[in-house]
């Protein structure tokens, strides 16, 4: 089943064209990585999917339902059934780890016992059971990443968007968290859309890689295809 369908989408910020007539289809359960240099438009794709921006032209459909088209927002972010881990994680500093994860459950009006059960499950999932009462600032970088993951996954979204959340970590922690993400994907079965500028990370996390440059899709294929593409001399991104 197709979970994401972008058709001829263009987005501009002032005179800068961030996305130029791109189309992209993603099937349920896929692990897709959007790869490209800074400013190429990859984060714009995620923000488009999340509903923070609307396309100037073209359409965005999620799970077969049209959610935005031609500058019109048809479905707001909170109704899109997706999770997003931001590049800077965006953990709410005034809430505890538990408060951060529980926020979405409260917003959906779940009863307290249900919320507690789901919170415990999410904390266990990311190995942070003993940290529920701590503030995010009291955690290490890796622990913060896991809180952000738990917050995005606690609502069991069908689609998980990751906006370069590993880019600021050292290599060892980066690799450890890649494994964590793969483990969670296998266990929960969500569709993963991961954005990065790091080829190794892309090849480790994706089953399919989409190369974006200057707001356009340059290449779309399996990890093996994209490896070959780079080995045989892909055009250098500016």
């Amino acid at each position: 089943m197709r979970i994401v369908d972008l058709v001829s989408v263009s987005v501009s910020f002032g005179k800068t064209k961030a996305l130029d007539d791109i189309s992209l289809q993603i099937d349920t359960g896929e692990r897709i990585v959007i790869l490209g240099p800074s400013g190429c438009g990859k984060t714009t794709i995620l923000r488009l999917l999340a509903g923070f921006i609307t396309p100037d032209s073209g359409s965005v459909s999620l799970g077969g339902e049209l959610v935005a088209c031609d500058r019109r927002l048809l479905k707001p972010p909170e109704q899109r059934d997706l999770g997003l881990v931001f590049q800077d994680l965006a953990l709410w500093p005034h809430l505890t780890v538990g408060g951060n994860i529980e926020f979405g459950l409260k917003a959906r009006g779940l009863p307290r016992p249900e919320r507690k059960r789901l919170l415990d499950e999410a904390l266990t999932l990311v190995g942070l059971r003993d940290y529920a009462g701590r503030k995010p600032a009291a955690l290490s970088g890796g622990q913060q990443q896991r809180v952000a993951l738990a917050r995005a996954l606690v609502l069991t979204p069908g689609l998980l968007l990751l906006d370069e959340p590993l880019s600021s970590l050292d290599l060892e922690l980066n690799i450890r968290l890649r494994h964590e993400i793969l483990r969670l994907h296998e266990k929960l079965g969500f569709t993963l859309v991961h954005v990065t500028h790091d080829r190794d990370e892309a090849f480790a996390l994706g089953t399919r890689v989409v190369v974006v440059a200057r707001g356009r899709i340059e290449r779309d294929g399996s990890v093996a295809d994209i490896r070959k593409y780079y080995q045989t001399g892909a055009p250098r991104a500016e």
């Binding site: 707001p76 997706l82 997003l84 965006a90």
Partner: protein, 515 residues
């Protein structure tokens, strides 16, 4: 060495202009004929009048604070975060009462409601001060909203609608700013003299001024302001402990994207109508009343004849005061930001304390220290007014500069240093040009506060050197209502027109100053 000397000189001036007058005033009130005596304070605890004054002062400040925060915070969110039409115009409209001396709006409402007591006492003072101080929580809410990392709200938007995100994410994040606004409003209301005096409501500043001006009872006047200073100190201590580290800098958000805007959808029209109606009632109506009352009978010609000189002096003192405040603010801001001297925290606390202190206290302090034969060279000239402005308002320009300088990467000055530039050259060629927006914003705010100052100027102005706010205040006792209204309109124009013009030409719109 140059840096330490110059900054030390600025600190010494600040101490001489602000701290020593207050200490001198206090010292003179506890010594009688060279002997320590607390006689002036004897009545303070025993007299029921003192307790009445305290109750009135606290009730007025608490009510004004509550109303302004409860109204100003949602107003700030509407004007700073939604797609409400005409947000910039409406924000400027609501700010107008803050630009002029507070009693101007009291005069207007008194004209409108009549002299039969409908605008009097606690309720009348509360309403007038509410309309004047409403922009403080409104503006601080708007400014602090810009400091919230948009990602934090977007993360909330993924699973909740805007009302929940506002209640659980945005407002808790800007809460220190809202509390700071409440504290500011409380202190300003607590020290406000002109409105309670006009509406005959007994509070400490009125008592102190009356003791001083009517009876020239210096010790009793000082004793009456001690509770003001005491409450100010307590509240500033609370601010220093709980808020200062969280509101010290108005940091820009970590990401360059604009803050997410709330689409009001079907609520847009009625909210616009509501906010516009409130702006009309609070700001436009009082001004229209003044304009209509002042029309005809040659009121404006008479006003200019009787107060033209005061108008010119107001401009001159405001321009001079604002310019010196900008210089003082730059150096004290630089000192606090770079911690160049060990006393940086004390200097910061001193400027904030002096700003929070009622103008009446600073005015009496200046008289206490400077009104001597040896210092009459200063006290007998307009310089004493400017000294009062520097003492009271340096905190404003200093805080703006701390914020502005914090946004300049240290590497800018370091690159110049590596290239061989000394401290003054780095300051003049790198830091001052990069901080120009902050300097301009500081100058504008200094101009507004100097122009509207009534309390300090009224106490210290040399004979024949009164400013327009003081002239209007003194004429209110025997001037015709038409003449007073004309003077008030001129005062409003004197504040609003130059600020509006500068705002338009300087590109300060879109809130670029506090970024």
């Amino acid at each position: 060495m140059t840096r330490r000397l110059l900054l030390g000189f600025i600190v010494a001036l600040l101490v001489g202009f602000g701290l020593l007058p207050v200490l001198s005033m206090f010292g003179r009130s506890i010594f009688v004929d060279g002997q320590l005596s607390l006689a002036a304070y004897g009545g303070l605890l025993q007299s029921t009048r003192q307790w009445t004054l305290m109750r009135n002062s606290l009730a007025l400040s608490a009510l004004v604070t509550l109303l302004t925060v409860v109204t100003g915070t949602p107003l700030g969110i509407l004007l700073g975060k939604t797609d409400l039409p005409g947000r910039q115009f409406l924000a400027m409209l609501f700010v107008t009462p803050l630009l002029v001396p507070p009693y101007i709006f009291a005069v207007s409402w008194f004209d409108l409601l009549g002299p039969d007591g409908r605008l009097a006492g606690l309720s009348g003072c509360t309403f007038i001060l509410f309309s004047i101080f409403l922009p403080i929580p409104m503006l601080l809410t708007m400014v602090f909203l810009r400091t919230v990392n948009p990602r934090l709200e977007e993360a909330g938007r993924l699973c909740a609608a805007w009302p929940t995100v506002l209640a659980r994410i945005t407002i808790p994040l800007i809460l220190p700013g809202v509390l700071l606004a409440g504290l500011l409003v409380f202190l300003l209301s607590f020290g406000e003299f002109s409105v309670p005096n006009f509406l005959r409501f007994d509070v400490f500043p009125v008592e102190s001024f009356t003791r001083f001006s009517a009876f020239y009872d210096f010790k009793a006047a000082t004793a009456a302001v001690v509770p003001l200073a005491g409450v100010t100190l307590i509240l500033l201590f609370v601010e220093a402990v709980f808020l200062r580290d969280r509101t010290y800098l108005l940091r820009p958000s970590a990401t360059p994207e604009r803050s997410p805007v709330i689409a009001l959808g079907p609520h847009r029209k009625w909210l616009f109508a509501l906010v516009t109606a409130a702006g009309f009632l609070i700001v436009v109506l009082p001004v229209v009343v003044l304009v209509s009352r002042s029309a005809g009978h040659g009121n404006y010609a008479e006003a200019l004849r009787r107060a033209g000189g005061s108008l010119g002096r107001s401009f001159a003192f405001a321009v001079g005061g604002a310019s010196l405040l900008t210089v003082f603010g730059f150096f004290t801001g630089y000192l606090v930001q770079t911690r160049a001297l060990r006393c940086w925290r004390a200097v910061d606390s001193l400027t904030v304390f002096l700003f929070a202190l009622p103008g009446i206290v600073i005015g009496i302090g200046l008289i206490s220290l400077w009104n001597t034969p040896r210092t009459n060279l200063v006290y007998g000239t307009s310089a004493i007014i400017i000294i009062g402005y520097l003492a009271k308002y340096t905190a404003l320009t200093s805080r703006i500069m701390v914020t502005q300088l914090a946004q300049i990467p240290p590497t800018m000055a370091e690159a110049a240093q590596v290239a061989g530039a000394g401290w003054l050259r780095r300051l003049a060629l790198i830091q001052v040009p990069l901080a120009r927006r902050g300097l301009l914003a500081g100058w504008l705010i200094g101009y507004i506060f100097c122009l509207r100052d009534t309390d300090i100027t009224m106490l210290v102005y040399p004979p024949g050197r009164e400013t327009l706010p003081v002239r209007i205040f003194t004429l209110m006792a025997n001037g015709s209502p038409g003449l007073i209204a004309a003077l008030c309109v001129i005062m409003i124009a004197a504040a609003v027109v130059p600020i509006g013009l500068l705002w338009l030409v300087s590109g300060l719109r879109q809130g670029k100053v506090v970024e």
